[in-house]
């Protein structure tokens, strides 16, 4: 891929940098300048968006714009337009799926979907083919910065004379337009189907890290481009403060949909950060069973066993069989968090024993759970502190610590992953 502008070879497609075109004169056939190029507008409905309009600064600092159809020739550092063009005054209106490259992409932060991180756009690279200009790559590398400073040739020469084999001369950090997500666009305005699918494939933990680094508007834009499930998975990974702030930015119905998909303990933590009014509004918009579970968790201090626990657990009776337990696990696999312990309770819900997944695998399927169960080594009450819960998990090597109310009835469990992240946060 050529990194410096190349002269066109007949009909071969070639690349040109935005920085080489920006600020250069747009010439008419008689050699007169129609103005200096200050911006371009692309149509994002296609994988490689074509340039639709040019924005020029004409005499007297007036901003004017032209359609791309007026362009007759693209050169590595300039554009030529047809004779007698009449530019329209002002900036072009940006309808749906239209992006201003100077205002919304260049120098802005974007998500590098493949590298799973936030980067800043230093330059853009266009493909010149069949008389059209298509946005192909985003340059996020050091070389792009040097080019923007106008020092590319000088630096290249200096580096070549010192160390011709330098990595610098060959390493252009180009990202395919298809694998980036711009963030500084008005929400809902721009459709980027390919990149959006790629975004959904990112790990929620990576998305969460990016989310934490964004400003409010960018968070809303990014969240809008995620489907509800990915959004919920991502918001489980962000800190409750950030999650709460993001939920406030999106429409209440969508926020409610996301909260329903989230693990109830995480949803409750986020809701606990919101003002009473917003919390009531979102709870009212949520489906009933999920809202009810979350409400119960909200009663507890977020750093107590009650606040940390999830009500989703496998709870069976001693007379049920191993086969019943396995069937239950399969049936509920979707909405269960980390499962290792299966809890056995009597009629009134008091914890009487537990089996581990290992016990289930080793026992015959017809065995009654009561016969293979062990004594629960420990329980914690809902108001137990994080320290107590962590101690219990560490001492008895538990993957999940059962939480009971003051009557000894099982109400939920705290899983080791939640304990771990709380302990790490509190360091």
């Amino acid at each position: 891929m050529p990194s410096t502008p190349m002269a066109p070879h007949g009909n071969d497609p070639w690349f040109v940098h935005f920085s080489n075109l920006l600020g250069s004169a747009v010439l008419q056939p008689d050699g007169k300048s129609a103005g200096k190029l200050v911006d371009m507008v692309v149509h994002t409905g296609e994988p490689y968006p074509p340039v639709e309009r040019l924005v020029l600064r004409a005499e007297g600092r007036r901003r004017v714009h032209l359609p791309w159809s007026d362009v007759v020739e693209v050169r590595p550092d300039a554009l030529r337009v047809r004779e007698g063009v009449v530019p329209s005054p002002g900036d072009p209106p940006l309808g749906p799926d239209r992006l201003s490259l100077r205002k919304e992409i260049l120098d802005r932060q974007i998500v590098d979907v493949e590298g799973a991180k936030l980067v800043r756009v230093n330059d853009l690279q266009f493909l010149v083919a069949k008389g059209g200009l298509r946005l192909a790559h985003v340059d996020v590398g050091f070389r792009g910065l040097v080019r923007r400073m106008g020092w590319e040739r000088a630096v290249d020469r200096a580096v070549t004379s010192v160390r011709p084999s330098s990595q610098y001369l060959r390493s252009d950090s180009l990202l395919s337009w298809k694998l980036v997500q711009p963030l500084d666009t008005a929400p809902g305005k721009v459709r980027l189907e390919v990149a959006q699918r790629a975004l959904g494939g990112m790990h929620p933990a990576d998305l969460a890290e990016i989310m934490e680094d964004l400003d409010r508007d960018q968070r809303a834009v990014l969240l809008e481009r995620l489907d509800v499930e990915t959004a919920a998975d991502t918001l489980e990974e962000t800190s409750p403060e950030v999650t709460a702030q993001i939920l406030e930015e999106v429409a209440p119905e969508r926020a409610a949909d996301i909260l329903e998909e989230m693990a109830p303990d995480q949803a409750a933590d986020a809701l606990g950060e919101l003002s009473g009014e917003t919390r009531r509004e979102l709870l009212a918009a949520m489906e009933h069973p999920e809202a009810h579970e979350v409400q119960r968790l909200l009663h507890h201090d977020p750093r107590s066993a009650g606040g940390l626990m999830t009500p989703d657990r496998v709870q069976l009776q001693p007379r049920q069989t191993v086969a019943d337990a396995l069937a239950e696990l399969r049936r509920r696999a979707e909405d269960l968090p980390l499962v290792y312990e299966i809890f056995l309770t009597d009629r009134s819900g008091v914890l009487v024993g537990l089996c581990t997944l290992r016990d289930l695998l080793l026992a015959p399927v017809t065995a009654r759970l009561g016969t293979i169960a062990r004594e629960p080594p420990v329980t914690v009450e809902v108001d137990a502190t994080l320290r107590d819960v962590a101690d219990a998990a560490a001492k008895y090597n538990l993957v999940s610590v059962p939480v009971v109310d003051s009557q000894g009835a099982l109400v939920g469990m705290v899983t080791i992953d939640d304990i771990l992240s709380e302990v790490l946060d509190g360091r």
């Binding site: 702030q245 009473g276 507890h300």
Partner: protein, 426 residues
């Protein structure tokens, strides 16, 4: 269990809640204010008090107003846009403007860091610790605190350090100044048309309003995640911070005026000022002064390199933050470590022209400040960025007048310092 919604923490009355909200957003303004009273600040205020007595005290009131105006804009932009100043400059003016602003900021901040380490060395010398020991130890402590401490521990250390500023008022009260004269001088402007007086006046303004503060404050406000609805708490934090800055400055000037100026002792640096206080107000004053100077230097030496690395990375899109691994954020850690090492290393060079370095720093700060103020005013008045939170007509008038005065004063300072650098005289 009951099904009706009940918050985990019962409300304890609106006033208590409002206090809690204030405390949760408090910090950036007050921390910035305390870094502002760094080694350079203490030196300048000591020279003002020792050389001119109470004559320059009146400048503190207009300086406070200017400081509040400028800092309030930074905080407001941070809250409303959610972006740092470096970020906004890059997005609005592109790579070239950003590059030169960052180069100037880096030079100025390295210069400031050198001043902080020489301040730390000077203060520890009062406790008989030689620089070859104190400077590397201070640098190591700074470096470890930021890179090995967690964010919470760092913030706690910073807030405790803020409280230590009580050392200055205590030192002043031990010196027993004539309070009637002091208060009258604070509200009565006086002006002398000689170059020494003008230079002191400009030095006082320049050391109080520095370019890096606007970057630091705005980023810190963004980092805190303050919401627009909570902005009034942030504004209060900024105003309180600015007042603290100038109250501390006031006490330093008064302390030096009541002792050194009255006794006719001329000082050249802050450590001399501290030593000169010892016979007059007992050895406690000297210790307090040295303790305060060390605290100020250490505090600023911790924040300046970190903040500088942070905005440079922000501007160029490199990964930054102390929660990142070294391999993820090479530029960030490289810049941070580089600034600390240069800052501490330069102080250790024997026969170093420290005064010359300080002059260069002042010049670069002075050249940079007008650009930053104009950038800020253009940004804060941009309807697309700020919406209804733009400056009002009156605020704008005050802000532009402040900017114009700052440009005039720093312009004079730059010319004067450049002249001194060329002629080689101090």
């Amino acid at each position: 269990m009951a099904a009706e919604p009940a918050p985990a923490r019962p409300a304890r009355g609106a006033r208590w809640r409002s206090l809690l909200v204030f405390l949760s957003v408090v910090g950036p303004g007050i921390i910035t204010a305390n870094v502002d009273n760094d080694a350079g600040g203490i030196t300048t205020y000591s020279l003002v008090g020792a050389g001119y007595g109470n004559k320059l005290l009146w400048t503190l009131l207009p300086i406070t107003v200017a400081l509040v105006v400028v800092q309030e804009m930074s905080a407001r932009m941070g809250v409303m846009t959610g972006k740092g100043l470096a970020d906004l400059i890059r997005e609005n003016w592109g790579v070239k403007a950003t590059f030169w602003v960052m180069v100037a900021l880096l030079i100025a901040d390295v210069g400031n860091t050198i001043a902080e380490f020489s301040g730390a060395a000077a203060s520890l010398q009062i406790f008989s610790v030689p620089p070859w020991l104190s400077v590397p130890l201070t640098a190591l402590a700074v470096w470890l605190l930021v890179l090995k401490g967690t964010y919470r521990s760092v913030e706690k250390v910073f807030l405790v350090a803020c409280v230590v500023y009580l050392a200055y008022p205590i030192s002043t009260f031990l010196a027993k100044p004539d309070w009637g004269v002091v208060l009258r001088a604070t509200v009565t402007p006086s002006f002398e048309m000689n170059s020494g007086y003008v230079a002191m006046l400009i030095g006082t303004v320049g050391t109080t309003i520095a370019p890096w503060m606007q970057f630091y404050l705005q980023s810190a406000v963004v980092e805190k995640g303050v919401k627009p609805e909570q902005y009034h708490h942030s504004r209060l934090d900024v105003i309180v911070g600015c007042i603290i800055t100038d109250v501390v400055a006031f006490f330093i000037i008064v302390a030096c005026s009541a002792t050194l100026f009255k006794a006719g002792i001329q000082v050249e640096t802050a450590d001399q000022a501290a030593q000169a206080l010892a016979p007059l107000a007992g050895r406690h004053a000297s210790w307090l002064f040295a303790f305060g100077l060390f605290n100020a230097s250490f505090f600023a030496a911790t924040i300046l390199p970190l903040a500088t690395a942070y905005y440079i990375c922000e501007a160029f899109g490199w990964e930054s933050g102390i929660d990142k691994k070294w391999s993820e954020a090479k530029e960030f850690y490289g810049l941070y470590t580089g600034i600390v090492v240069i800052g501490a290393g330069v102080v250790l060079i024997p026969h170093l022209p420290l005064l010359q370095i300080m002059l260069v720093t002042q010049v670069v700060n002075g050249v940079l400040l007008p650009f930053i103020l104009v950038f800020m005013l253009l940004l804060v008045n941009d309807p697309k960025l700020m919406g209804e939170h733009r400056n009002g007509p009156w605020f704008n008038a005050i802000a532009w007048v402040t900017t114009a005065v700052m440009i005039l004063l720093t312009g004079y300072l730059v010319v004067d310092a450049a002249r001194k650098l060329v002629t080689g005289g101090a």
